[in-house]
Subunit: 261 residues, 2 copies
DNA sequence: GACACGTACTCGTATAGACGAGTGGGCAAG
DNA sequence: CTTGCCCACTCGTCTATACGAGTACGTGTC
């Protein structure tokens, strides 16, 4: 195996760049050049201390930088590893087209199985509650809403946490208030109930996760979340559902098609 | 002014939660509750050291956590501040509709001025180059492409860095190869040249920025980027342009409208 | 008043040391 | 062979100290 010097080079003591940044640069470059590949173990803190002749805190600063950048993950007792790129789930903009609703299975399940992954849904919760100000405004200020919460996993890994909100007067005592709303999901039920869906508005933000989100999505540090809020409108222009979704950003690509006219 | 204890509480020595996490929790809670507001200065490291009775490194670990979460920013020589939420630029999915192209000014300029901000474009670069593998595949494998790079700023703050790629056979010796392609931008020129635009495909990812992106977008730590790749197709189904855009995630909300059928 | 300077405060960087805790392999006892 | 333990190695947390560098402000000089 090649010497650390040939892989990482040495420090430039004349540089005004902070030592821990130089070390981070060296590691980043080695990763970019493929000297360390996805899942590979980086040199241990002790090895880096010996190689660069610096204190351990300096090395840890460097490694911490790489983790903030999402390039590396540390595992207690094992080492620091080049962060593997998980398989990406692609969300196409036609995923809510009526033709997809008419089959039966949930969209998430169908797509995941087509991609060769094992889908799971957990943390199911359906309850009535008072809406937050934001949700309330989007739904036309209902006094109470039905909230449907669930978490989606691929091959055991949580990738998405979503909550649907529906005005209570619309959802109470319907299949939508059941844990399993039946084939085609709540959009199919809404249409059966006479709310022909017209269009969806989606708003997309990206940000760093809250500590709670880190827990429920088991996020590595340096992984942002995509926050998507979708509002469903029926043919009369009424907002009939708002779906608030937080996704692990390293697991998703969102795809949209826009007409040019 | 209230005592630090009433704002931040005290440590729980019996807790198994790491001290620096407890300190971060206390600060986070105080921020959430509005005890510290946007732009407010947090207690200095020294004050926190005195208040919690811990060493400075522990306090710095806590503050560093908040910065990674995007909740705080530090300024050398001044202090650590609650990160202000910059005004958000909203990108609607109809922003490339033909009717918007027919006026004249660049979309960015028009929107920014409408929102009361001062728009700027800089770092203009137009050159011919060999496409990367990804760009090449999206454009139908041209040997060379015209690359148009520019950076967008709002009120002096960089918010977006974009590169447009066009097959060279299509763009060479046209207004598109000029630094300023004229009213309506390159999409207007493409249509004048007979490439009637049919639709756009957009792919959206979110991730942490590279060090180079941190520089060009002057990103605070804890701010992800939104990476958007748009491909423009003409009526014959040919990909005539790919636009690769990196946006400061805290400056943008992307909005899309999807039909339900 | 304008300017230079010193000083106190801020965060940034780095060192050295200590102990805790998770992991995995080897070795010895059963 | 299996089980259980120990040990070596890993990263996690925390202390204590030191100096550098950017900022703000007051003070004294011109």
């Amino acid at each position: 195996m090649p010497s650390l010097t040939s892989v990482l080079g040495v420090l430039d003591p004349t540089s005004d760049r902070a030592v821990f940044r130089q070390i981070a640069d060296a590691l980043r470059e080695a990763i970019d050049k493929g000297r360390f590949r996805e899942g590979d173990k980086l040199p241990s803190e002790t090895e880096l201390v010996d190689h660069f002749g610096v204190s351990r805190m300096t090395v840890r600063n460097a490694l911490s930088l790489l983790q903030q950048e999402g390039l590396a993950v540390s595992e207690h007792g094992k080492g620091v590893f080049v962060r593997p790129r998980p398989p990406v789930r692609r969300l196409a903009s036609d995923r809510f087209a009526r033709r997809h609703r008419e089959q039966g299975k949930a969209a998430f399940t169908v797509e995941a199985e087509a991609a060769g992954s094992r889908p799971e849904v957990d943390n199911l919760e359906v309850k009535e509650e008072r809406p937050s100000q934001d949700i309330s405004a989007r739904l036309g200020s209902p006094r109470k809403v039905l909230a449907r919460r669930r978490r989606y996993l691929l091959d055991g890994r949580p990738v998405e946490f979503a909550t649907s909100y529906l005005p209570l007067d619309l959802a109470r005592n319907t299949p939508i208030a059941q844990p399993n709303p039946g084939p085609g999901g709540i959009y199919a039920r809404l249409e059966e109930m006479g709310h022909r869906l017209d269009h969806f508005d989606e708003e997309i933000r990206a940000r760093m996760p809250s500590p709670a989100e880190v827990r429920t999505l088991q996020l590595a540090s340096g992984v942002p979340v995509i926050h998507l809020v979708r509002t469903a409108f029926d043919a009369e222009g009424r907002a009939v559902e708002v779906c608030d979704t937080v996704m692990a950003a390293d697991a998703y690509v969102l795809a949209y098609q826009l007409p040019a006219n």
